[in-house]
Amino acid sequence: MTQLDGVVKPKTKRSKRFLQSREPKLIENVKNAMLIKGGNTSETVTQALKDIYALKKPNAVLYKKKNITRPFEDQTSLEFFSKKSDCSLFLFGSHNKKRPNNLIFGRMFDFHVLDMIELGIEKFTSLKEIKRSTCPEGTKPLLVFAGEAFDMDNEYKRLRSILTDFFRGPTVPSVRLAGLEHLLHFTALEGKIYMRSYKVLLKKSGCRTPRIELEEMGPSFDFVMRRTHLASDDLYKTAHRQPKALKPKKKKNISHDAFGTKFGRLHMQKQDLEKLQTRRPDLRTK
């Protein structure tokens, strides 16, 4: 009776608050990412993890020590980490002979792996190597995807979704226009995925909208896609299900026609003619 699984009664207010912050919510917290270093990593992979950590920083955890797991074979330890640090996005870096410089982007739903995609680093330029410009920590990036593969291929489509989820940061109601400084550009071209990170410079154009100049910032990657693990359609659908309370309520007795004109019935009270303002009120009394 005492060891009911999954039922923890907080003993202090503080632990109660902590547990509340991890509960499922209608409007969810920002997704946290955990960046996990595998059993063996090359310098490239370690640096790549560090750089992505720098991009993601307030919403990320970096697991710096060796973690000997293979996400495509056994996901239990990932699930454990996810539960422990309350992260639903993960990036796993490893390096071995068969798959050198390996990064696995993935995400969880309900602390189980939803989908993950393995990308091999072909070329990598670190954030450190390009010292010209930097961005403040926690800048919400502009995300741009280019290439028809991201629309046609199922795996690429899922990759686009994962990368958007991974890098988009918090959802905000408004954004400071001068603060749009960071651009992440993903290009799918000839079987490779080019991820580039640029600093956006807003130049005067003579009209309201500025002209854009870009300056490479790093980290930049050339990826090739390796193994994939995509969620079944059923699970994918469940993960996307919107709670009823969040769905917009349908308004009754209002309709629209083809041109977008709104139709409804107005109910008005009878107009009081006594109080009508006329040019000569004394006339009315006669």
Partner: protein, 344 residues
Amino acid sequence: MAACSIEDVLAKAEKDEAEKLKSITVHKELDLEFDLGNLFAFDKNPPDTREFRQKNKEDFLCSLARDNTQLLINEIWKLPTERVDEVIVAKLPEPTTRLPREKPAPKPRPPTKWEEFAKLKGIQKKKKTNLVWDDVHKEWRRRWGYKRANDDTKEWLIEVPESVDPNEDQFAKRIKAKKERVAKNELNRLRNIARAQKIKVPGVGLAPTPTDQPSKSELGKAVQVAKVSTASVGKFQDRLPKEKAPKNTGKKRKFQPLIGDFSTEKQKQLDILKVMDSKKPRLDITKAVNKQMREEDMESGSKRKKGSGKKRRKGNFSGKKGKGFGSTAKSGKNRKPRMKQGKR
């Protein structure tokens, strides 16, 4: 002349405008997809591979990125803006890209047993005032908690009721009663949780939370467990006048009586000797049946896979067969009766 100059001016203004826009316009075959809530754009146009190969790779990617970003920025600058603390801020729409949730949507807490009952009876919660008049201290005090009004734990004297034993400690009694109430409440809380999660509460005998009406067999089991739970494993426990011995308690070993039916004992010994004497191994029917079944399974499996693997396997099996049987007859079957003899 005046007309001519006006036309000129207009043309010039138009040209200027076009030039101004030139720096921020980008032409694309297909329009980009935008999701401004996520500051996201998607360019469906296939990038020019020929140019990509000829040109410097980085420059090509950079120019592609610039064009796409320009389009995205143009779109963002069209959004309604406002000024907050000397900063121009654009209001973003809701994100349109559907991304999976992190956790499933929260479920409403299932009602407790009391809440169910209250709903059935139409009992509504009444708000009680926080402060209550304390007659002893002559002031308003909180109803609950530290320094509460009419605190019965702080009394220094309790009247002993006539009906109870005068030597009983009334203070201790009160404390015990309170502790029991707390324990009961905790138990009910756990029961509510268990009910909500549809867990069958495990337990030996009378579990700490018995079901509302335990059945006869459950009660019997509980009595049995309680009886055995003494230091001497229930050896000195008294029996009730009409109590029956429990069924299915799980007696482990059974022995024949020491003195009694000699004919059956003789028969048994003879049987053992017969088995030992015979050259033929004894047939263990269950084992044989299992073996046969396994063989059939394998055969069907190999048939499904390939026709060739079938023959070799069968041959292997028959070789094992002889070996296995001989050994079982000698060691396995002889051991049992010998042990029994030793016990005697």
